[in-house]
Amino acid sequence: MNINSRYKTISLILSIILLFGLVGFGSFYTYWNSASPYKTCASCHEIELRVESHAHSSHQNLTCKDCHGTALSNGFHSLKEKGMMVVNHVRKVNTENIRMNEEQILDVMNNCERCHTNEFAKWKLGGHSMTYSHVFLNEKHNTTEQINFDCLRCHGMFNSKSVDEIVEPLKNKGPWKLKDKELMHRSAIPCMACHQIHQEGKPVSQPDYSNPQEAFYKRKAEKPSLTFFHRHEKININVVDLPKLKLTDNNREVAVSDDPIMRNCIQCHAPNAAHQAGTSDDRTPRGVHEGLSCMACHEPHSNDARNSCKKCHPPMSNCKLDVTQMNTTFKDKNSKNDIHFVSCTDCHKANDPKLKQKMMKITRI
C-alpha cells in the first residue's frame, strides 16, 4: 500500500467514525428529547419525584423540555449543572429537594408566555410585573419604610441571597443601589410566585356532553392550582391549605370570603400581626363590600378592577344608581372613601330621612 492510499484509508476511517459519532449523538439527542421523561430525565433518581408530580399535573401533556429546555439550552451552564449532579450522586449528597434557581425560574417563565400569551400580557400590564428596581429602589417607599429581610417574602422570593446582599444601604436615607446591576430589570414577582407548574391537576378537557348538566350548574369544581411560594420553607403551599384570615374591626369580627384564592392575596396584602382591619397593607373588603373576595373585582393576572362595578351593579339595574360616579376611590383616587372599606354611613347619616326615602323608593321599584 503506498502512502497516498494509506492516507486515504485513514481519512476514510476517521470520516466514518466522525459520521457515526455525529449521527449517533444526533439520534441519541433526538431520542432523549422526544422519549418519555420516565426513560430520560427520570434516569437520574434525583429527578424522579419531579417527573412523577409532573405526570399528575395539568401540564402532563407537555414534555420536560417544553418548559425547561434541553440539556444544551443554556450551553455550558446546563452541562456543568448536569455534571455536578453526577458528582453529587457519587458523593452521595442528598439532592432530593433540588429546586430551580431564580435564573432558571425566569427562563421557564419565558416558556409560560409561549402558551399563556394572553395571561402573560395581562400580567405585564398589572402591578405584579414589577422589577427589582421598581421594588428596591423606590425612593418614597425606602424613605418611609426601611428595607428589611421580609421584603423578600413577596418580592424576589426566589433569590437565594439575603436582602443586604441585594440592595444597599439598608437605611431610610439613600441613594439606594442594587449590588448586582443585572437585577435591575429582573421580574420580582414571577409566575411561580403564585403558580406551581407541577401542582396536581388535570389538563383542560371538554365537559361530558351526554350529561349537559355537567357543562353548566353541575360542573365539578376543580381544586385551584394556585400556590403560595413560602420562601422561608422553600415550598409551594396550595391555596386551599393556606390559613383563612381572621380579621377584626374594633373588636367586631369581619366576614371574610371563603375563596381560597383570596388567601394567596392576603399572604402579601396582609394586616398587622393582631389582624386589625385597615392596618398595614390590609385591603380585605368591609363596609358595603364585606365578604367579597378580591377576585370578585380584580382580574387574576392584570389585577384590573375597572369593570368590577358593572359585574354587580349594571347600568340597567332596578336601583338606577350609577355606583361608578359615587364619591369613592374608584372614581377619584384621592377620595376619602376607599372602595375596599366604604360603607353607606360614610356619606349618609345613619338616620338621614332623605336616604330612608330613597331606599324606600328603590325597594318599591
Partner: protein, 186 residues
Amino acid sequence: MDVKNKISRRKFLSLSLVGIGGISLLSLGALNKKPISKWRFFTENEVLILDALVEQIIPTDESMGARDAGATNFIDKQLMGPYQQFQKDYRDGLKLLQQSSMEKFNSKFEELNWENQTILLKLIDKDELKHSHWEKGADKKFFSMVIRHTMQSFYGSPKHGGNKNNVSYKMLKLDTPIIIGQNRYK
C-alpha cells in the same frame, strides 16, 4: 485510485446503517430501566406494615391521621438522609413486628383489626411480649423510635415529607405561613 482499497458506496451505506442501529439499540438498552418506585428505602411490604403502625400512633379522627399525613414518606425520606443510622433498626424492627403478629394472631400486622393491632403494640410498649423474637427491650426501643419519628413527621415542616397539606397546623389552628403585613405607609 487503487481498486483494492476502494470501498463501494453500497458497503459504506450499509456500514453506516449498522453503526447507527447499534448506537440506537445501545441507547435504548441503557435507558430501559425498571419502573419508578415511590419509595426510597422501604419495600412495598414494609410500607404496608409501617402505614398501619403510624396510624395506630396518630389515628385519623376529624383530621388526617399519620398514615394519610405522610409519616411513612417522612421516615422513608429521612432514612436516606440524616437518619441513615436507623436503617437497620427499621429493616429488622418491621420484620420482627410482622413475626410477632403472626405468632400471636396468626395474621399479618397490617391485616389485623384495629383492636388487635393496639393489643400487640401495648404489649410491646409494656415490654410484655412473650415468646418474642426480639432481644430484651428491643421491641420497646423500636416502638419508641417509631413514635418519635411519627411525631416529628406530623408536627414538622411539610418540606421534610410529612405533615401533608399542613394538617397538624390546621388541627392546632396555627396560621402557617403566618399572616403579617408590612408597616405600610400612607
